[in-house]
Every structure is written in structure tokens, then in C-alpha cells.
Symmetry: C2
Subunit: 277 residues, 2 copies
């Protein structure tokens, strides 16, 4: 999916919601455990109830890798299901991969080629040649970690470079703009301190930002929009547990749909307020 | 495997060689392509010919993920085969994972629990809570990226922190010593400039260092030992392509065995020179 299509989907659906398909096998409703592909069955039901309110899904690889080969099969079934039924949805592999150039090329082929994700999250620690192999696929995206939402973010991401007087995550934002552009690169920016988005927007005014942690991790949607939104929206806001685990009974998918609808409604108001639509 | 056992294996085998099982499906000898599990068959033959000269194997996940569920099956077969036939071998998942605490816990369970690797490479960018979940498994190890051997290493790993006047990779070495110890944590240190190992040894005198890039990536074994070896060896030196792709015909495994033997002999001389054995 290209930039124009993504923006168009946001405007049409009046939503910049991304739902994290972090499907924990141990938290599945019991009646699904009797099916052959319980993780896929869970995802399928969540997708069917939420698809009209979301522009993106983001399965986190850890939740599939823990199931080994079966996890990959459930994941592929999920991707294929979304592609067939809801072709306007952007699908992100939350994989946080990165390796030396030749090896990153293999990961890129796996996720953006074989598995046909639209985007993959990438860790910047290893620098340019670990990131650029993911940028050579047409209409596919790198979502580079800049500022993460976890407590450990303060260990290294805020150290200030002697030479440029910039913090590490700011350097990541600046340097990587030479590797890609707003058409093939986004950034993960943790929303625990939404006012930081104002400074980040000075460095990357046009790029999409993927904001994790609105919901269970404590971010606030209004604040995020206030400081982070741009003329084309430029935001994907992720919610995982607050939506997919809103209910643990047989009506979990219906309740997830209601939660997604609530968020879409909030987003619609914000998109209007900031004149994106 | 614990620290004592690893050191004992190194002394007994007179080797600190790690072989990277970066098995590229497209580079397999033709006769293996007709088998049901060609990647496993390749690995099995490599392992049988090299096991007596090596203390560790390190499959890189990218080469398996590109094959989807089949890749995971071939990987698991490889791990199980090594465990059964050569129980004294240390097996490293070169996965370079890291995520927020809860998700890192899932990766840890997958690699150190379910798949029963001895160790996993971890990316430090997301800080403490992304690393510590991997440290809660008895006799299992984190191998934290500090200084990598690729060209992109210079983008961020060398920025100098205003406050402490230390480079990012040095901060990673220092801070992480509060998270683990020499019994459960090693560091990836690129060998492209071996003399840097002397400074690194001042920060982490006792920890094991995993040195990639001796061989195809241009490092030099004698220099690595000169600057990096400690009283208990403290080194695992990896070679991948130089060994597993030394020959592309039906005798590839035999040639790989000869290459591993050559490296073991060099290592034996160095272990004697530096009085480890």
C-alpha cells in the first residue's frame, strides 16, 4: 500500500486506529481451543467485528513464534484472511528485526516478500545497512523504532550525543531520513509523554508515526492528536489488549468491535477538529 | 549450559569455535533438494563433520523464517539432532530480538523454553525491561549486541554520551552488568578492529564475548585472541560462510569439517600461548 492509499483509507474510514493482534494462546476463550487453528479463529472473529473501524492490524511476532510452526501457520492464515476480505487494510509485522545487511535482506524477503506484510518494525541499533534492505520493496514500509513506550527506553534512547547535542532517538529520526522518505518509512514513537511529539514533529513533520501504548500502556488519544497529528493525519495509533481482550467470554469479538467503534468515534472527532477531514 | 561447563568444553576440545548455521536454501547442493527436509539434511551433515572441532552452533533465524513453517520445522530438527548426538554443544539462537517486557517474555519462552536454545542474541536499544525477561531461565544466556561488525555500526553505536563521555556501545556494556553477570550474559563484539577489544576488556574483563565476522567479514583470529582472550578463554569466535559454504559439491560437509579443523588447530595454539590450557 502506498502513502496516498493509506491517507485515503484514513479519511474514508475516519479512523487512524491500528489493532495489535497480540493473540496470547493462553488467553483464548475456551470454545476456541477445540478448533484446529484457535489463534486464527480468534483473529478472524476480531477482524470481522473491527475491520470497518480500523485502518491497520499489527500482529506481534512473539505471540506466534512461541507456538513454533503452528504459530506461523495461524499467522499466515490471518494475513491471507485479511488480504482477501479486507484488501484496504494495512498489515504490519511487529517484528523489531535488524541484522547485518545480507541477513536483513533475508528478513525483508520473508516479511515483505513471502508473507506479504505491508510494513515491518525495525530496530535501528545496527544502523543503515541493517535498515535499507527493507526499503527496496515497492509500496512496502519500514517502521523504525525511535522512541519506545517501555520503561527501558530511558536507558539508551535519551543519551545526548556530544557532537550534535541531540538525543539518540532524535539522531535516529534525523539520520534515517537519508535512507527513506515519508512514502516508505514511519517511526515508532511511544506515547507515554505526548508533549514530546511536538518536538518530534519538528524533525519529521510529514512522516507517519506509529504510536503504541494508547490504552493499556496509558497514553491519551487527545494529547497524541494535539501534538502529533499533521495535515494528512500522519498517525497510526495502536491498541491491543484494550480491544482484543476487552471481554473473555463467547461474545469477545462483539465487545472488541464495540471498543474499536468507540475509538473510531473519538478519532473522527479529532480528524475533524484538526481539519484532516 | 552453565559457565563452568562451557569453559570445561573449551578446554577439553581446545577450541572456541562457533559455527554459524546460516543455511541459505538457495545455496544448497542439488542432491539435498530432493530430500524432504533439505535444510536439516544440510545442517546434519555439517554438524556431523564439524562437531568435534566446535563448542557452539549459531543458526541465524532469518535463514529459517524465510521458509515459513517449514523453516521452523527444519530448525527444530536441527536443534534436536545436536542435543541428542552432541549434548556438550552450546546452541545460540541468533535472533537479535527485543521488545517491551511482556513481549520479550514471550520471545524468551519461545527460544529458551520451548525451543531449548542455550542462548539468544538480544538487541539493547529498548533497554532493561526488554533484556531481563531473557535472564530468568536457569543456565540460559543473553548475548547482548554491543558493537556489531557491519558498516552501519558507526551510525549510532559510537555516539558519545554528553554526561558520561562514553560511547553508546560502552554504555551498553556498563549498564547491562547490573542486569546479568558473567554466568548468564555475553556480548556481541564485532572483530573488524581487534585492537578495540583491549578497551572492551577493561569494561567487561570476565564476560564471554561472541565475536562475529572472523573469516568472511574479515577479522583476524590472532588479533582477536591477543586483545580479547582472558584466563577462562572468554571468547566464542564465529565463522559461518567460510566453513559451511567452503565447498558446494557432494563433499561440502567433509570440506567444512576440514575448515573447522584448521580453525580448531589455530585456536589450540592460541589457547596454549595465552595459558588457558
Amino acid at each position: 500500500m502506498n502513502y496516498k492509499q493509506l491517507v485515503s483509507n484514513i479519511k474514508q474510514k475516519k479512523s487512524f486506529l491500528c489493532v495489535g493482534l497480540d493473540t496470547d494462546y493462553n488467553m483464548l476463550p475456551k470454545f476456541l481451543m477445540e478448533t484446529e487453528y484457535p489463534v486464527f479463529e480468534f483473529n478472524k472473529r476480531i477482524v470481522d467485528e473491527t475491520a470497518k473501524y480500523v485502518v491497520a492490524y499489527k500482529p506481534n511476532m512473539a505471540f506466534y513464534e512461541i507456538l513454533g510452526a503452528a504459530g506461523w501457520i495461524n499467522l499466515l492464515m490471518t494475513i491471507n484472511y485479511i488480504r482477501e476480505r479486507y484488501p484496504d487494510i494495512f498489515i504490519i509485522a511487529d517484528a523489531k528485526r535488524s541484522d547485518i545487511g545480507n541477513t536483513s535482506k533475508m528478513y525483508a524477503k520473508a516479511f515483505l516478500g513471502e508473507m506479504n506484510f505491508d510494513a515491518i518494525t525495525v530496530n535501528p541499533y545496527m544502523g543503515e545497512d541493517s535498515v535499507t534492505p527493507f526499503l527496496s520493496f515497492e509500496n512496502k514500509w519500514v517502521i523504525l523504532l525511535a522512541l519506545t513506550s517501555n520503561s527501558g527506553a530511558s536507558d539508551f534512547q535519551f543519551i545526548k550525543d556530544n557532537e550534535t547535542d541531540q538525543k539518540l532517538f532524535e539522531l535516529v529520526l534525523r539520520k534515517s531520513q537519508a535512507w527513506g522518505n515519508r512514502e516508505n518509512m514511519m517511526y515508532v514513537v511511544g506515547a507515554t509523554k505526548a508533549e514530546m511529539l511536538a518536538d518530534i514533529r519538528k524533525i519529521v513533520p510529514e512522516h507517519f508515526l506509529l504510536i503504541p501504548g494508547v490504552g493499556a500502556q496509558g497514553g491519551n488519544l487527545e494529547e497524541v492528536a494535539k501534538y502529533g497529528i499533521n495535515k494528512q493525519c500522519g498517525l497510526l495509533v495502536n491498541s491491543s489488549r484494550n480491544i482484543i481482550y476487552a471481554d473473555a467470554t463467547n461474545i469477545f469479538a462483539k465487545v472488541a468491535g464495540e471498543k474499536a467503534y468507540e475509538m473510531q468515534k473519538e478519532m473522527e472527532i479529532l480528524l475533524q477538529k484538526y481539519k484532516v477531514i
